[in-house]
């Protein structure tokens, strides 16, 4: 069962890693990705909106896809919502497996699909001027497309 959390609070990467690997001796590889709020172009804050009823369901599907495609012993997705300032972590993805290729590829897959298949929207609040909604990027669609099967 993947561990899926959507929360305003920060997350504890070390505790999440320990949770995936604790008291197991069949895990040889643990890959993680942390997405962090950058201060591009005078950004003061980033506000993350989501579709509460749908978010956990969408993230669970993405994680289940990863567990079907790679022999993972476990995976975790934690996505924050609300107002985040530069330097703050936004998202954490963990994938554990016996071998490194599975863990690393699953981690990249989880991020690529999360970027294009989970109902989150970012609004940037610049230090000066009006807030603006972040536009989806073609690179993210291209990154997600490489995992398409059939």
């Amino acid at each position: 069962m993947p561990r899926i959390l959507v929360q305003e609070a920060p997350f504890d990467v070390a505790a999440e890693m320990a949770r995936l690997t604790a008291s197991r001796h069949d895990i040889g590889a643990l890959a993680s990705f942390t997405g962090i709020c950058r201060a591009d172009d005078g950004l003061a804050a980033m506000v993350l909106e989501h579709y509460p009823a749908m978010t956990e369901r969408a993230l669970t599907r993405i994680a289940e896809q990863a567990m079907e495609r790679w022999p993972l012993t476990g995976c975790t997705i934690i996505h924050r919502v609300g107002r985040l300032t530069p330097g703050e972590p936004i998202v954490l993805v963990l994938a554990a497996s016996a071998h490194r290729a599975a863990a690393l590829e699953a981690c990249a897959f989880l991020m690529d699909w999360l970027k294009t298949r989970a109902p989150f929207w970012k609004r940037e609040e610049p230090r000066e001027g009006a807030p603006r909604w972040v536009e989806a990027r073609a690179e993210d669609d291209a990154a997600a497309a490489r995992w398409q099967t059939g």
Binding site: A53, K115, K122
Partner: protein, 83 residues
């Protein structure tokens, strides 16, 4: 039918949620978008082709050909930008 809006759609329309009863001919997401666009000038602008509005029906992402039925929860939103 419950219709939800997120991100700039919610802001432009000034509402997060509407309860609507589409006419009988509205059978797909594509039909529903055409129906929604006719509700007001603000709707027309928000749902204009080229805006790239995306849809979920009953909490799953939906394509223009997917069916919609009375009682469904339908959400409209821009392309997602999480992660």
């Amino acid at each position: 039918m419950k219709v939800l809006y997120f991100a700039w759609l919610r802001e432009r329309l000034g509402v997060a949620e509407e309860e609507i009863t589409p006419p009988e001919g509205v059978a797909t997401v594509r039909d529903l978008i055409a129906h929604m666009a006719a509700r007001s000038p603000a709707h027309a602008e928000a749902f204009a082709a080229g805006k790239g509005v995306r849809c979920a029906v009953n909490l799953d992402f939906a394509t223009p050909d997917d069916p919609v039925r009375p009682g469904d929860e339908v959400a409209f939103f821009p392309p997602v930008t999480g992660g």
